[in-house]
């Protein structure tokens, strides 16, 4: 059976070149990057090179602004808790949105338990925050604004440039979770006024369990991981050299391909979308039609529940997701679609297709051949369907 992987926002297949770059660090090059001897120096050199590659991908002015972490979740935790702790004497108010990844949302919830005040900004029907809402939410006690660059479920891109400019004007630290934007949208922290930016390797064809955070020079942030003097005293723990090298290689390749790859994915995605809407009635696009990641498409199939679609596609070899991989398993419709004020029944029938570099037009044609009969069969089974006929 054909296998079509359309769940690249959950994770990606590691590239051959990335694995090749990593392998020596699991075999011959095993020194601790903090050791002064030649074994250590070889590891250190590889970590330094990776730092440069990540810095280059996002246009950081110095590699020292890149701190390696265990992934997007840790980067988000570090940004939010680290700034909240460092600026506690200045204020106790954090502004975020209702559509963040759980890595930010649950970190904010944890801080709220410790006495911090958190504002969760609403979004419009496309999932975009309103700058005026943000302006109104800012108080003299606001110490951090954390708003994602692009949403993992819908692909909707937030107005991060405007948000950053506002934060800068008000002198408030701005963190953006760019885990989904990296490698899909070209941007540069020289022009994007973000102080902190989260990166994860496994979303850009790198290894799982490796990530980084960009920390603009001068940003006040406390470590959340205490121990040795690693990572400029910002993140203790012996460096995960293999993972860091993998992230570096993935970043290097992403930087090279950023001008062509996203465009290719967008064309394939839009081809798939046209096919779906021409073959299947009663669908809706969740998310902004244009201000959106080039690889992401969240489609609602009316009168249906998402898991039944996902499982049927799985039986045909097609991997997609409902909600986000972390939240499937809960009964409530996705918090992102709910925040977009999408009717609960419609939100239940939403499927995320997220494309990656391995996908081809043949893959799209295959999906277009198996999906319509699945939807038809499930709708015939649905008690909600006849009403809408």
């Amino acid at each position: 059976m054909r296998k079509v992987y359309l769940d690249n926002n959950a994770t990606t297949r590691m590239r051959e070149e990335v694995l090749d770059a990593m392998m020596p660090f699991y075999k011959d090059v095993y020194g601790n990057a903090s050791s002064i001897h030649q074994f250590g120096r070889r590891s250190r050199a590889a970590v330094d090179k990776a730092r440069q590659d990540v810095a280059r991908l996002i246009g950081a002015s110095s590699p020292e602004e890149i701190i390696f972490t265990s992934g997007g979740t840790e980067s988000d935790n570090f940004a939010v808790k680290g700034v909240a702790h460092a600026l506690r004497s200045k204020g106790d108010h954090i502004i975020t949105t209702s559509v963040e990844h759980s890595a930010v949302l649950n970190t904010c919830k944890a801080l709220a338990k410790d006495g911090y005040k958190v504002t969760y900004l609403p979004v419009d029907g496309y999932g975009i925050v309103n700058i005026d809402d943000l302006k109104k939410a800012v108080t003299a006690k606001t110490i951090l604004i954390s708003i994602m660059y692009a949403n993992n479920e819908t692909g909707t891109v937030e107005p991060v440039a405007e948000i950053g400019a506002l934060a800068k004007e008000k002198g408030i630290c701005f963190h953006t979770d760019a885990v989904q934007a990296i490698g899909k949208i070209a941007f540069d922290v020289k022009s994007l006024p973000a102080d902190l930016l989260s990166i994860s390797a496994h979303k850009i064809y790198g290894p799982k369990g490796a990530g980084a955070i960009y920390v603009r020079k001068g940003t006040k942030i406390d470590a959340i991981m205490h121990g040795g003097h690693h990572e400029m005293n910002k993140r203790a723990g012996t460096e995960n050299v293999g993972g860091i090298v993998g992230l570096g290689k993935a970043a290097e390749l992403a930087a090279k391909e950023i001008s062509g790859e996203p465009r290719k994915l967008m064309e394939l995605r839009d081809y798939l979308y046209k096919g779906i809407t021409s073959k299947i009635p009663h669908t809706r696009l969740n998310g902004h039609p244009e201000k959106r990641l080039p690889n992401t498409m969240n489609v609602g199939f009316k009168y249906l529940e998402g898991e039944s679609i996902m499982l049927n596609l799985d039986m045909e070899g097609v991997a997609v997701s409902t909600g986000s991989a972390c939240t499937s398993g809960t009964l409530e419709p996705s918090h992102v679609l709910t925040a977009m004020a999408i009717d609960a029944a419609d939100a239940q029938g939403s499927i995320r297709f997220s494309l990656g570099r391995d996908n081809t037009k043949e893959d799209m044609d295959y999906v277009l051949s198996v999906l319509p009969p699945i939807i038809q069969r499930l709708r015939e089974m649905s008690p909600l369907y006849e009403k809408g006929k």
Binding site: L304, E305, E307, S308, L331, M381, S382, P383, L384
Partner: protein, 141 residues
């Protein structure tokens, strides 16, 4: 494994039995709501002489477990008397499916509720008092 379906669940999900409506049903049970992600409508045909359920069909909006439990409950009730059918618990439905993931147990409750709803609809139509049955709320599981 946590969160994964048994082969039996997948088999019923793939080939659900008794999908559809019964135009002249003797009882219809309607439960659930789209916010929770499942709605079940269960139709039964009852022979009034001996109160045996002769046919059962369903329509379901829901996840894999909701479809599989709907399918299984229609299988279980066919040929049973109303009294026997009322003894079918949600756990019996889940067991017949080789178990359900914990977070999906509420689907089996829904199937039981749909069945009781259909039977009560039948009883009402025949001027008989409805059966009160307590359901375990397994949403918390």
């Amino acid at each position: 494994m946590e969160g994964q379906y048994s082969d039996k669940v997948m088999e019923h999900f793939r080939n659900p039995r008794n999908v559809g409506e019964i135009a002249d049903a003797d009882g219809i049970g309607n439960v659930g709501n789209p916010v929770c992600g499942d709605i079940m409508r269960l139709y039964i045909k009852v022979d009034p002489k001996d109160e045996i359920i002769t046919d059962a069909k369903f329509k379901t909006f829901g996840c894999g477990a909701a479809i599989a439990t709907s399918s299984m409950v229609t299988e279980l009730v066919k040929g049973k008397t109303i009294e026997e059918a009322l003894k079918i618990s949600n756990h019996a439905v889940a067991e017949a499916l080789g178990g359900l993931p914990k977070i999906k147990m509420h689907c089996s409750v829904l199937a039981e509720q749909a069945l009781v709803g259909a039977i009560n609809d039948y009883l009402k139509k025949h001027g008989k008092p409805p059966i009160a049955k307590n359901f375990k709320d397994e949403h918390e599981a």
